[in-house]
Amino acid sequence: MNLHRFANPARFMRLSSALLPWCGAGAAALIGIGLYLALFIAPPDYQQGEAVRIMFVHVPAAWMASLVYALMALASAIALIWRHPLADIAALSAAPLGAGFTLLCLVTGSLWGERMWGTWWVWDARLTSVLVLFFLYLGYLALVNAFDEPGRGARAGAILALVGIVNLPIIKFSVDWWNTLHQPASVFRLGGPTIDASMLWPLAIMVLGFMLFFATLLLVRMRTTLIEAKIRVLLLSEIERHAAASPRQAVAS
């Protein structure tokens, strides 16, 4: 509603500009090391062969997908309850990133599935909940961008994000139930042998790298939004100075 509220997040700008280089560099380094370990050091799986290396992207992406949604819903709650302007911007900035991670998880999973099960898709409970999560993100993004006034989209989106987080465990639970009710005939079961240490390390490094990568992009997106808002406020105050018209009174009885 009031653009002036967006105009003074000076502290955030200072803090974020100090953090940004560290996050960026950390993300690049961790993902670089992680990829190197994953592609060249980790041994091929005795069952799955080289295809197992997809895991090092797939699993972090899957975790980030739900983590980001939780963060987005938290930010939305703060935005709705305390009307904190930065929370709105954080939620808006996080959503496309979360959708990206979800898509990455789906695509890598699909590619993997084609190699391992000979099919791009099965209606497995876990796969299905990721698909539904992806639709939650898409709905949020579509809603936020469907209004001309940016403020309206943000508020509608915040309501939706909260409704979505309430629903997320319900979906997870119901999908699990659904899938056990009609036991699929010949579907590969996920989460086979416990992971070996030689794979655990690269995986942990990749996960950390993904988190820092997310933090970097989030900060960049929030900063751009704030700078854009600042420019708009400057333009508007210019207009308002023009409009310092002599206030008149109309009184009637």
Binding site: E149, R232, E240, A245, P247, A250
Partner: protein, 217 residues
């Protein structure tokens, strides 16, 4: 809102102080103040797009002012929205008439939502009694407008906010409208209306919105 602000509000009546309104990116008007005592009337004029409808919507509580306060009997209107809603009638450009319901059904619904009232008399006062049973789909443009205005009489409210109420009315209906406004003011009510035509009213203040334009339209 700083406490100091409240002391400026007039102790009685309907008033607005230093109001500004933004539609989308544009500041439509700014620095607008008015005050009305019981029985007062305020006529909003100004060229197309100067913000008459926008101001009336603010007064109704549909949307918040970008700056400034609206007050009723000294208390900011935003502090108790339900109380404000209960005391006003708002008739906008759109008539909120359902084509499928009959004239009487339409009016009875709106009156009933506010606790009920005398539908038959309100229809008669706007010369719609003969149409009471016919579906609103069949009404001519002016008849629809009269039906919208009949809501004012079907259930009482101290504050009337009317956006170009005279649109499409024939001269008889215009007289009816003016009589209704006069009766409302006599009873101590408040009337704010926008118009492009002459609507003579005794002792009404006029506010020309173009005097408060934030930038030339």
């Amino acid at each position: 809102m700083p406490a100091g602000r409240h002391t400026m509000l007039p102790a009685a009546g309907f008033a607005g102080i230093d109001l500004a309104c933004r539609r989308g990116e544009r500041l439509v008007f700014a620095g607008l103040s008015f005050s009305l005592a019981a029985g007062g009337a305020l006529v909003l004029t100004g060229p197309n797009g100067s913000g008459k409808s926008s101001l009336l919507r603010l007064m109704a509580g549909l949307g918040r002012p970008e700056a400034g306060v609206l007050s009723w009997d000294g208390a900011p209107v935003g502090e108790d929205p339900p109380a404000h809603r209960a005391r006003l009638h708002f008739i906008g450009h759109q008539e909120a008439v359902k084509p499928l319901l009959s004239v009487a059904e339409n009016l009875a619904f709106w009156a009933g939502m506010r606790g009920g009232g005398d539908v038959g008399q309100a229809l008669a006062r706007f010369r719609l009694a003969a149409f009471a049973g016919s579906p609103c789909r069949l009404l001519s443009a002016g008849q629809r407008r009269r039906l919208a205005l009949a809501r004012l009489l079907a259930s009482p409210a101290p504050l009337w906010l009317l956006d170009e109420p005279a649109t499409g009315l024939d001269s008889d209906a215009l007289d009816d409208l003016q009589a209704a406004i006069a009766a409302q003011r006599e009873a101590g009510g408040f009337v704010v209306l926008s118009t492009h035509t002459e609507l003579p009213m005794a002792g009404a203040a006029t506010l020309c919105l173009s005097d408060f334009a934030a930038r030339p339209a």
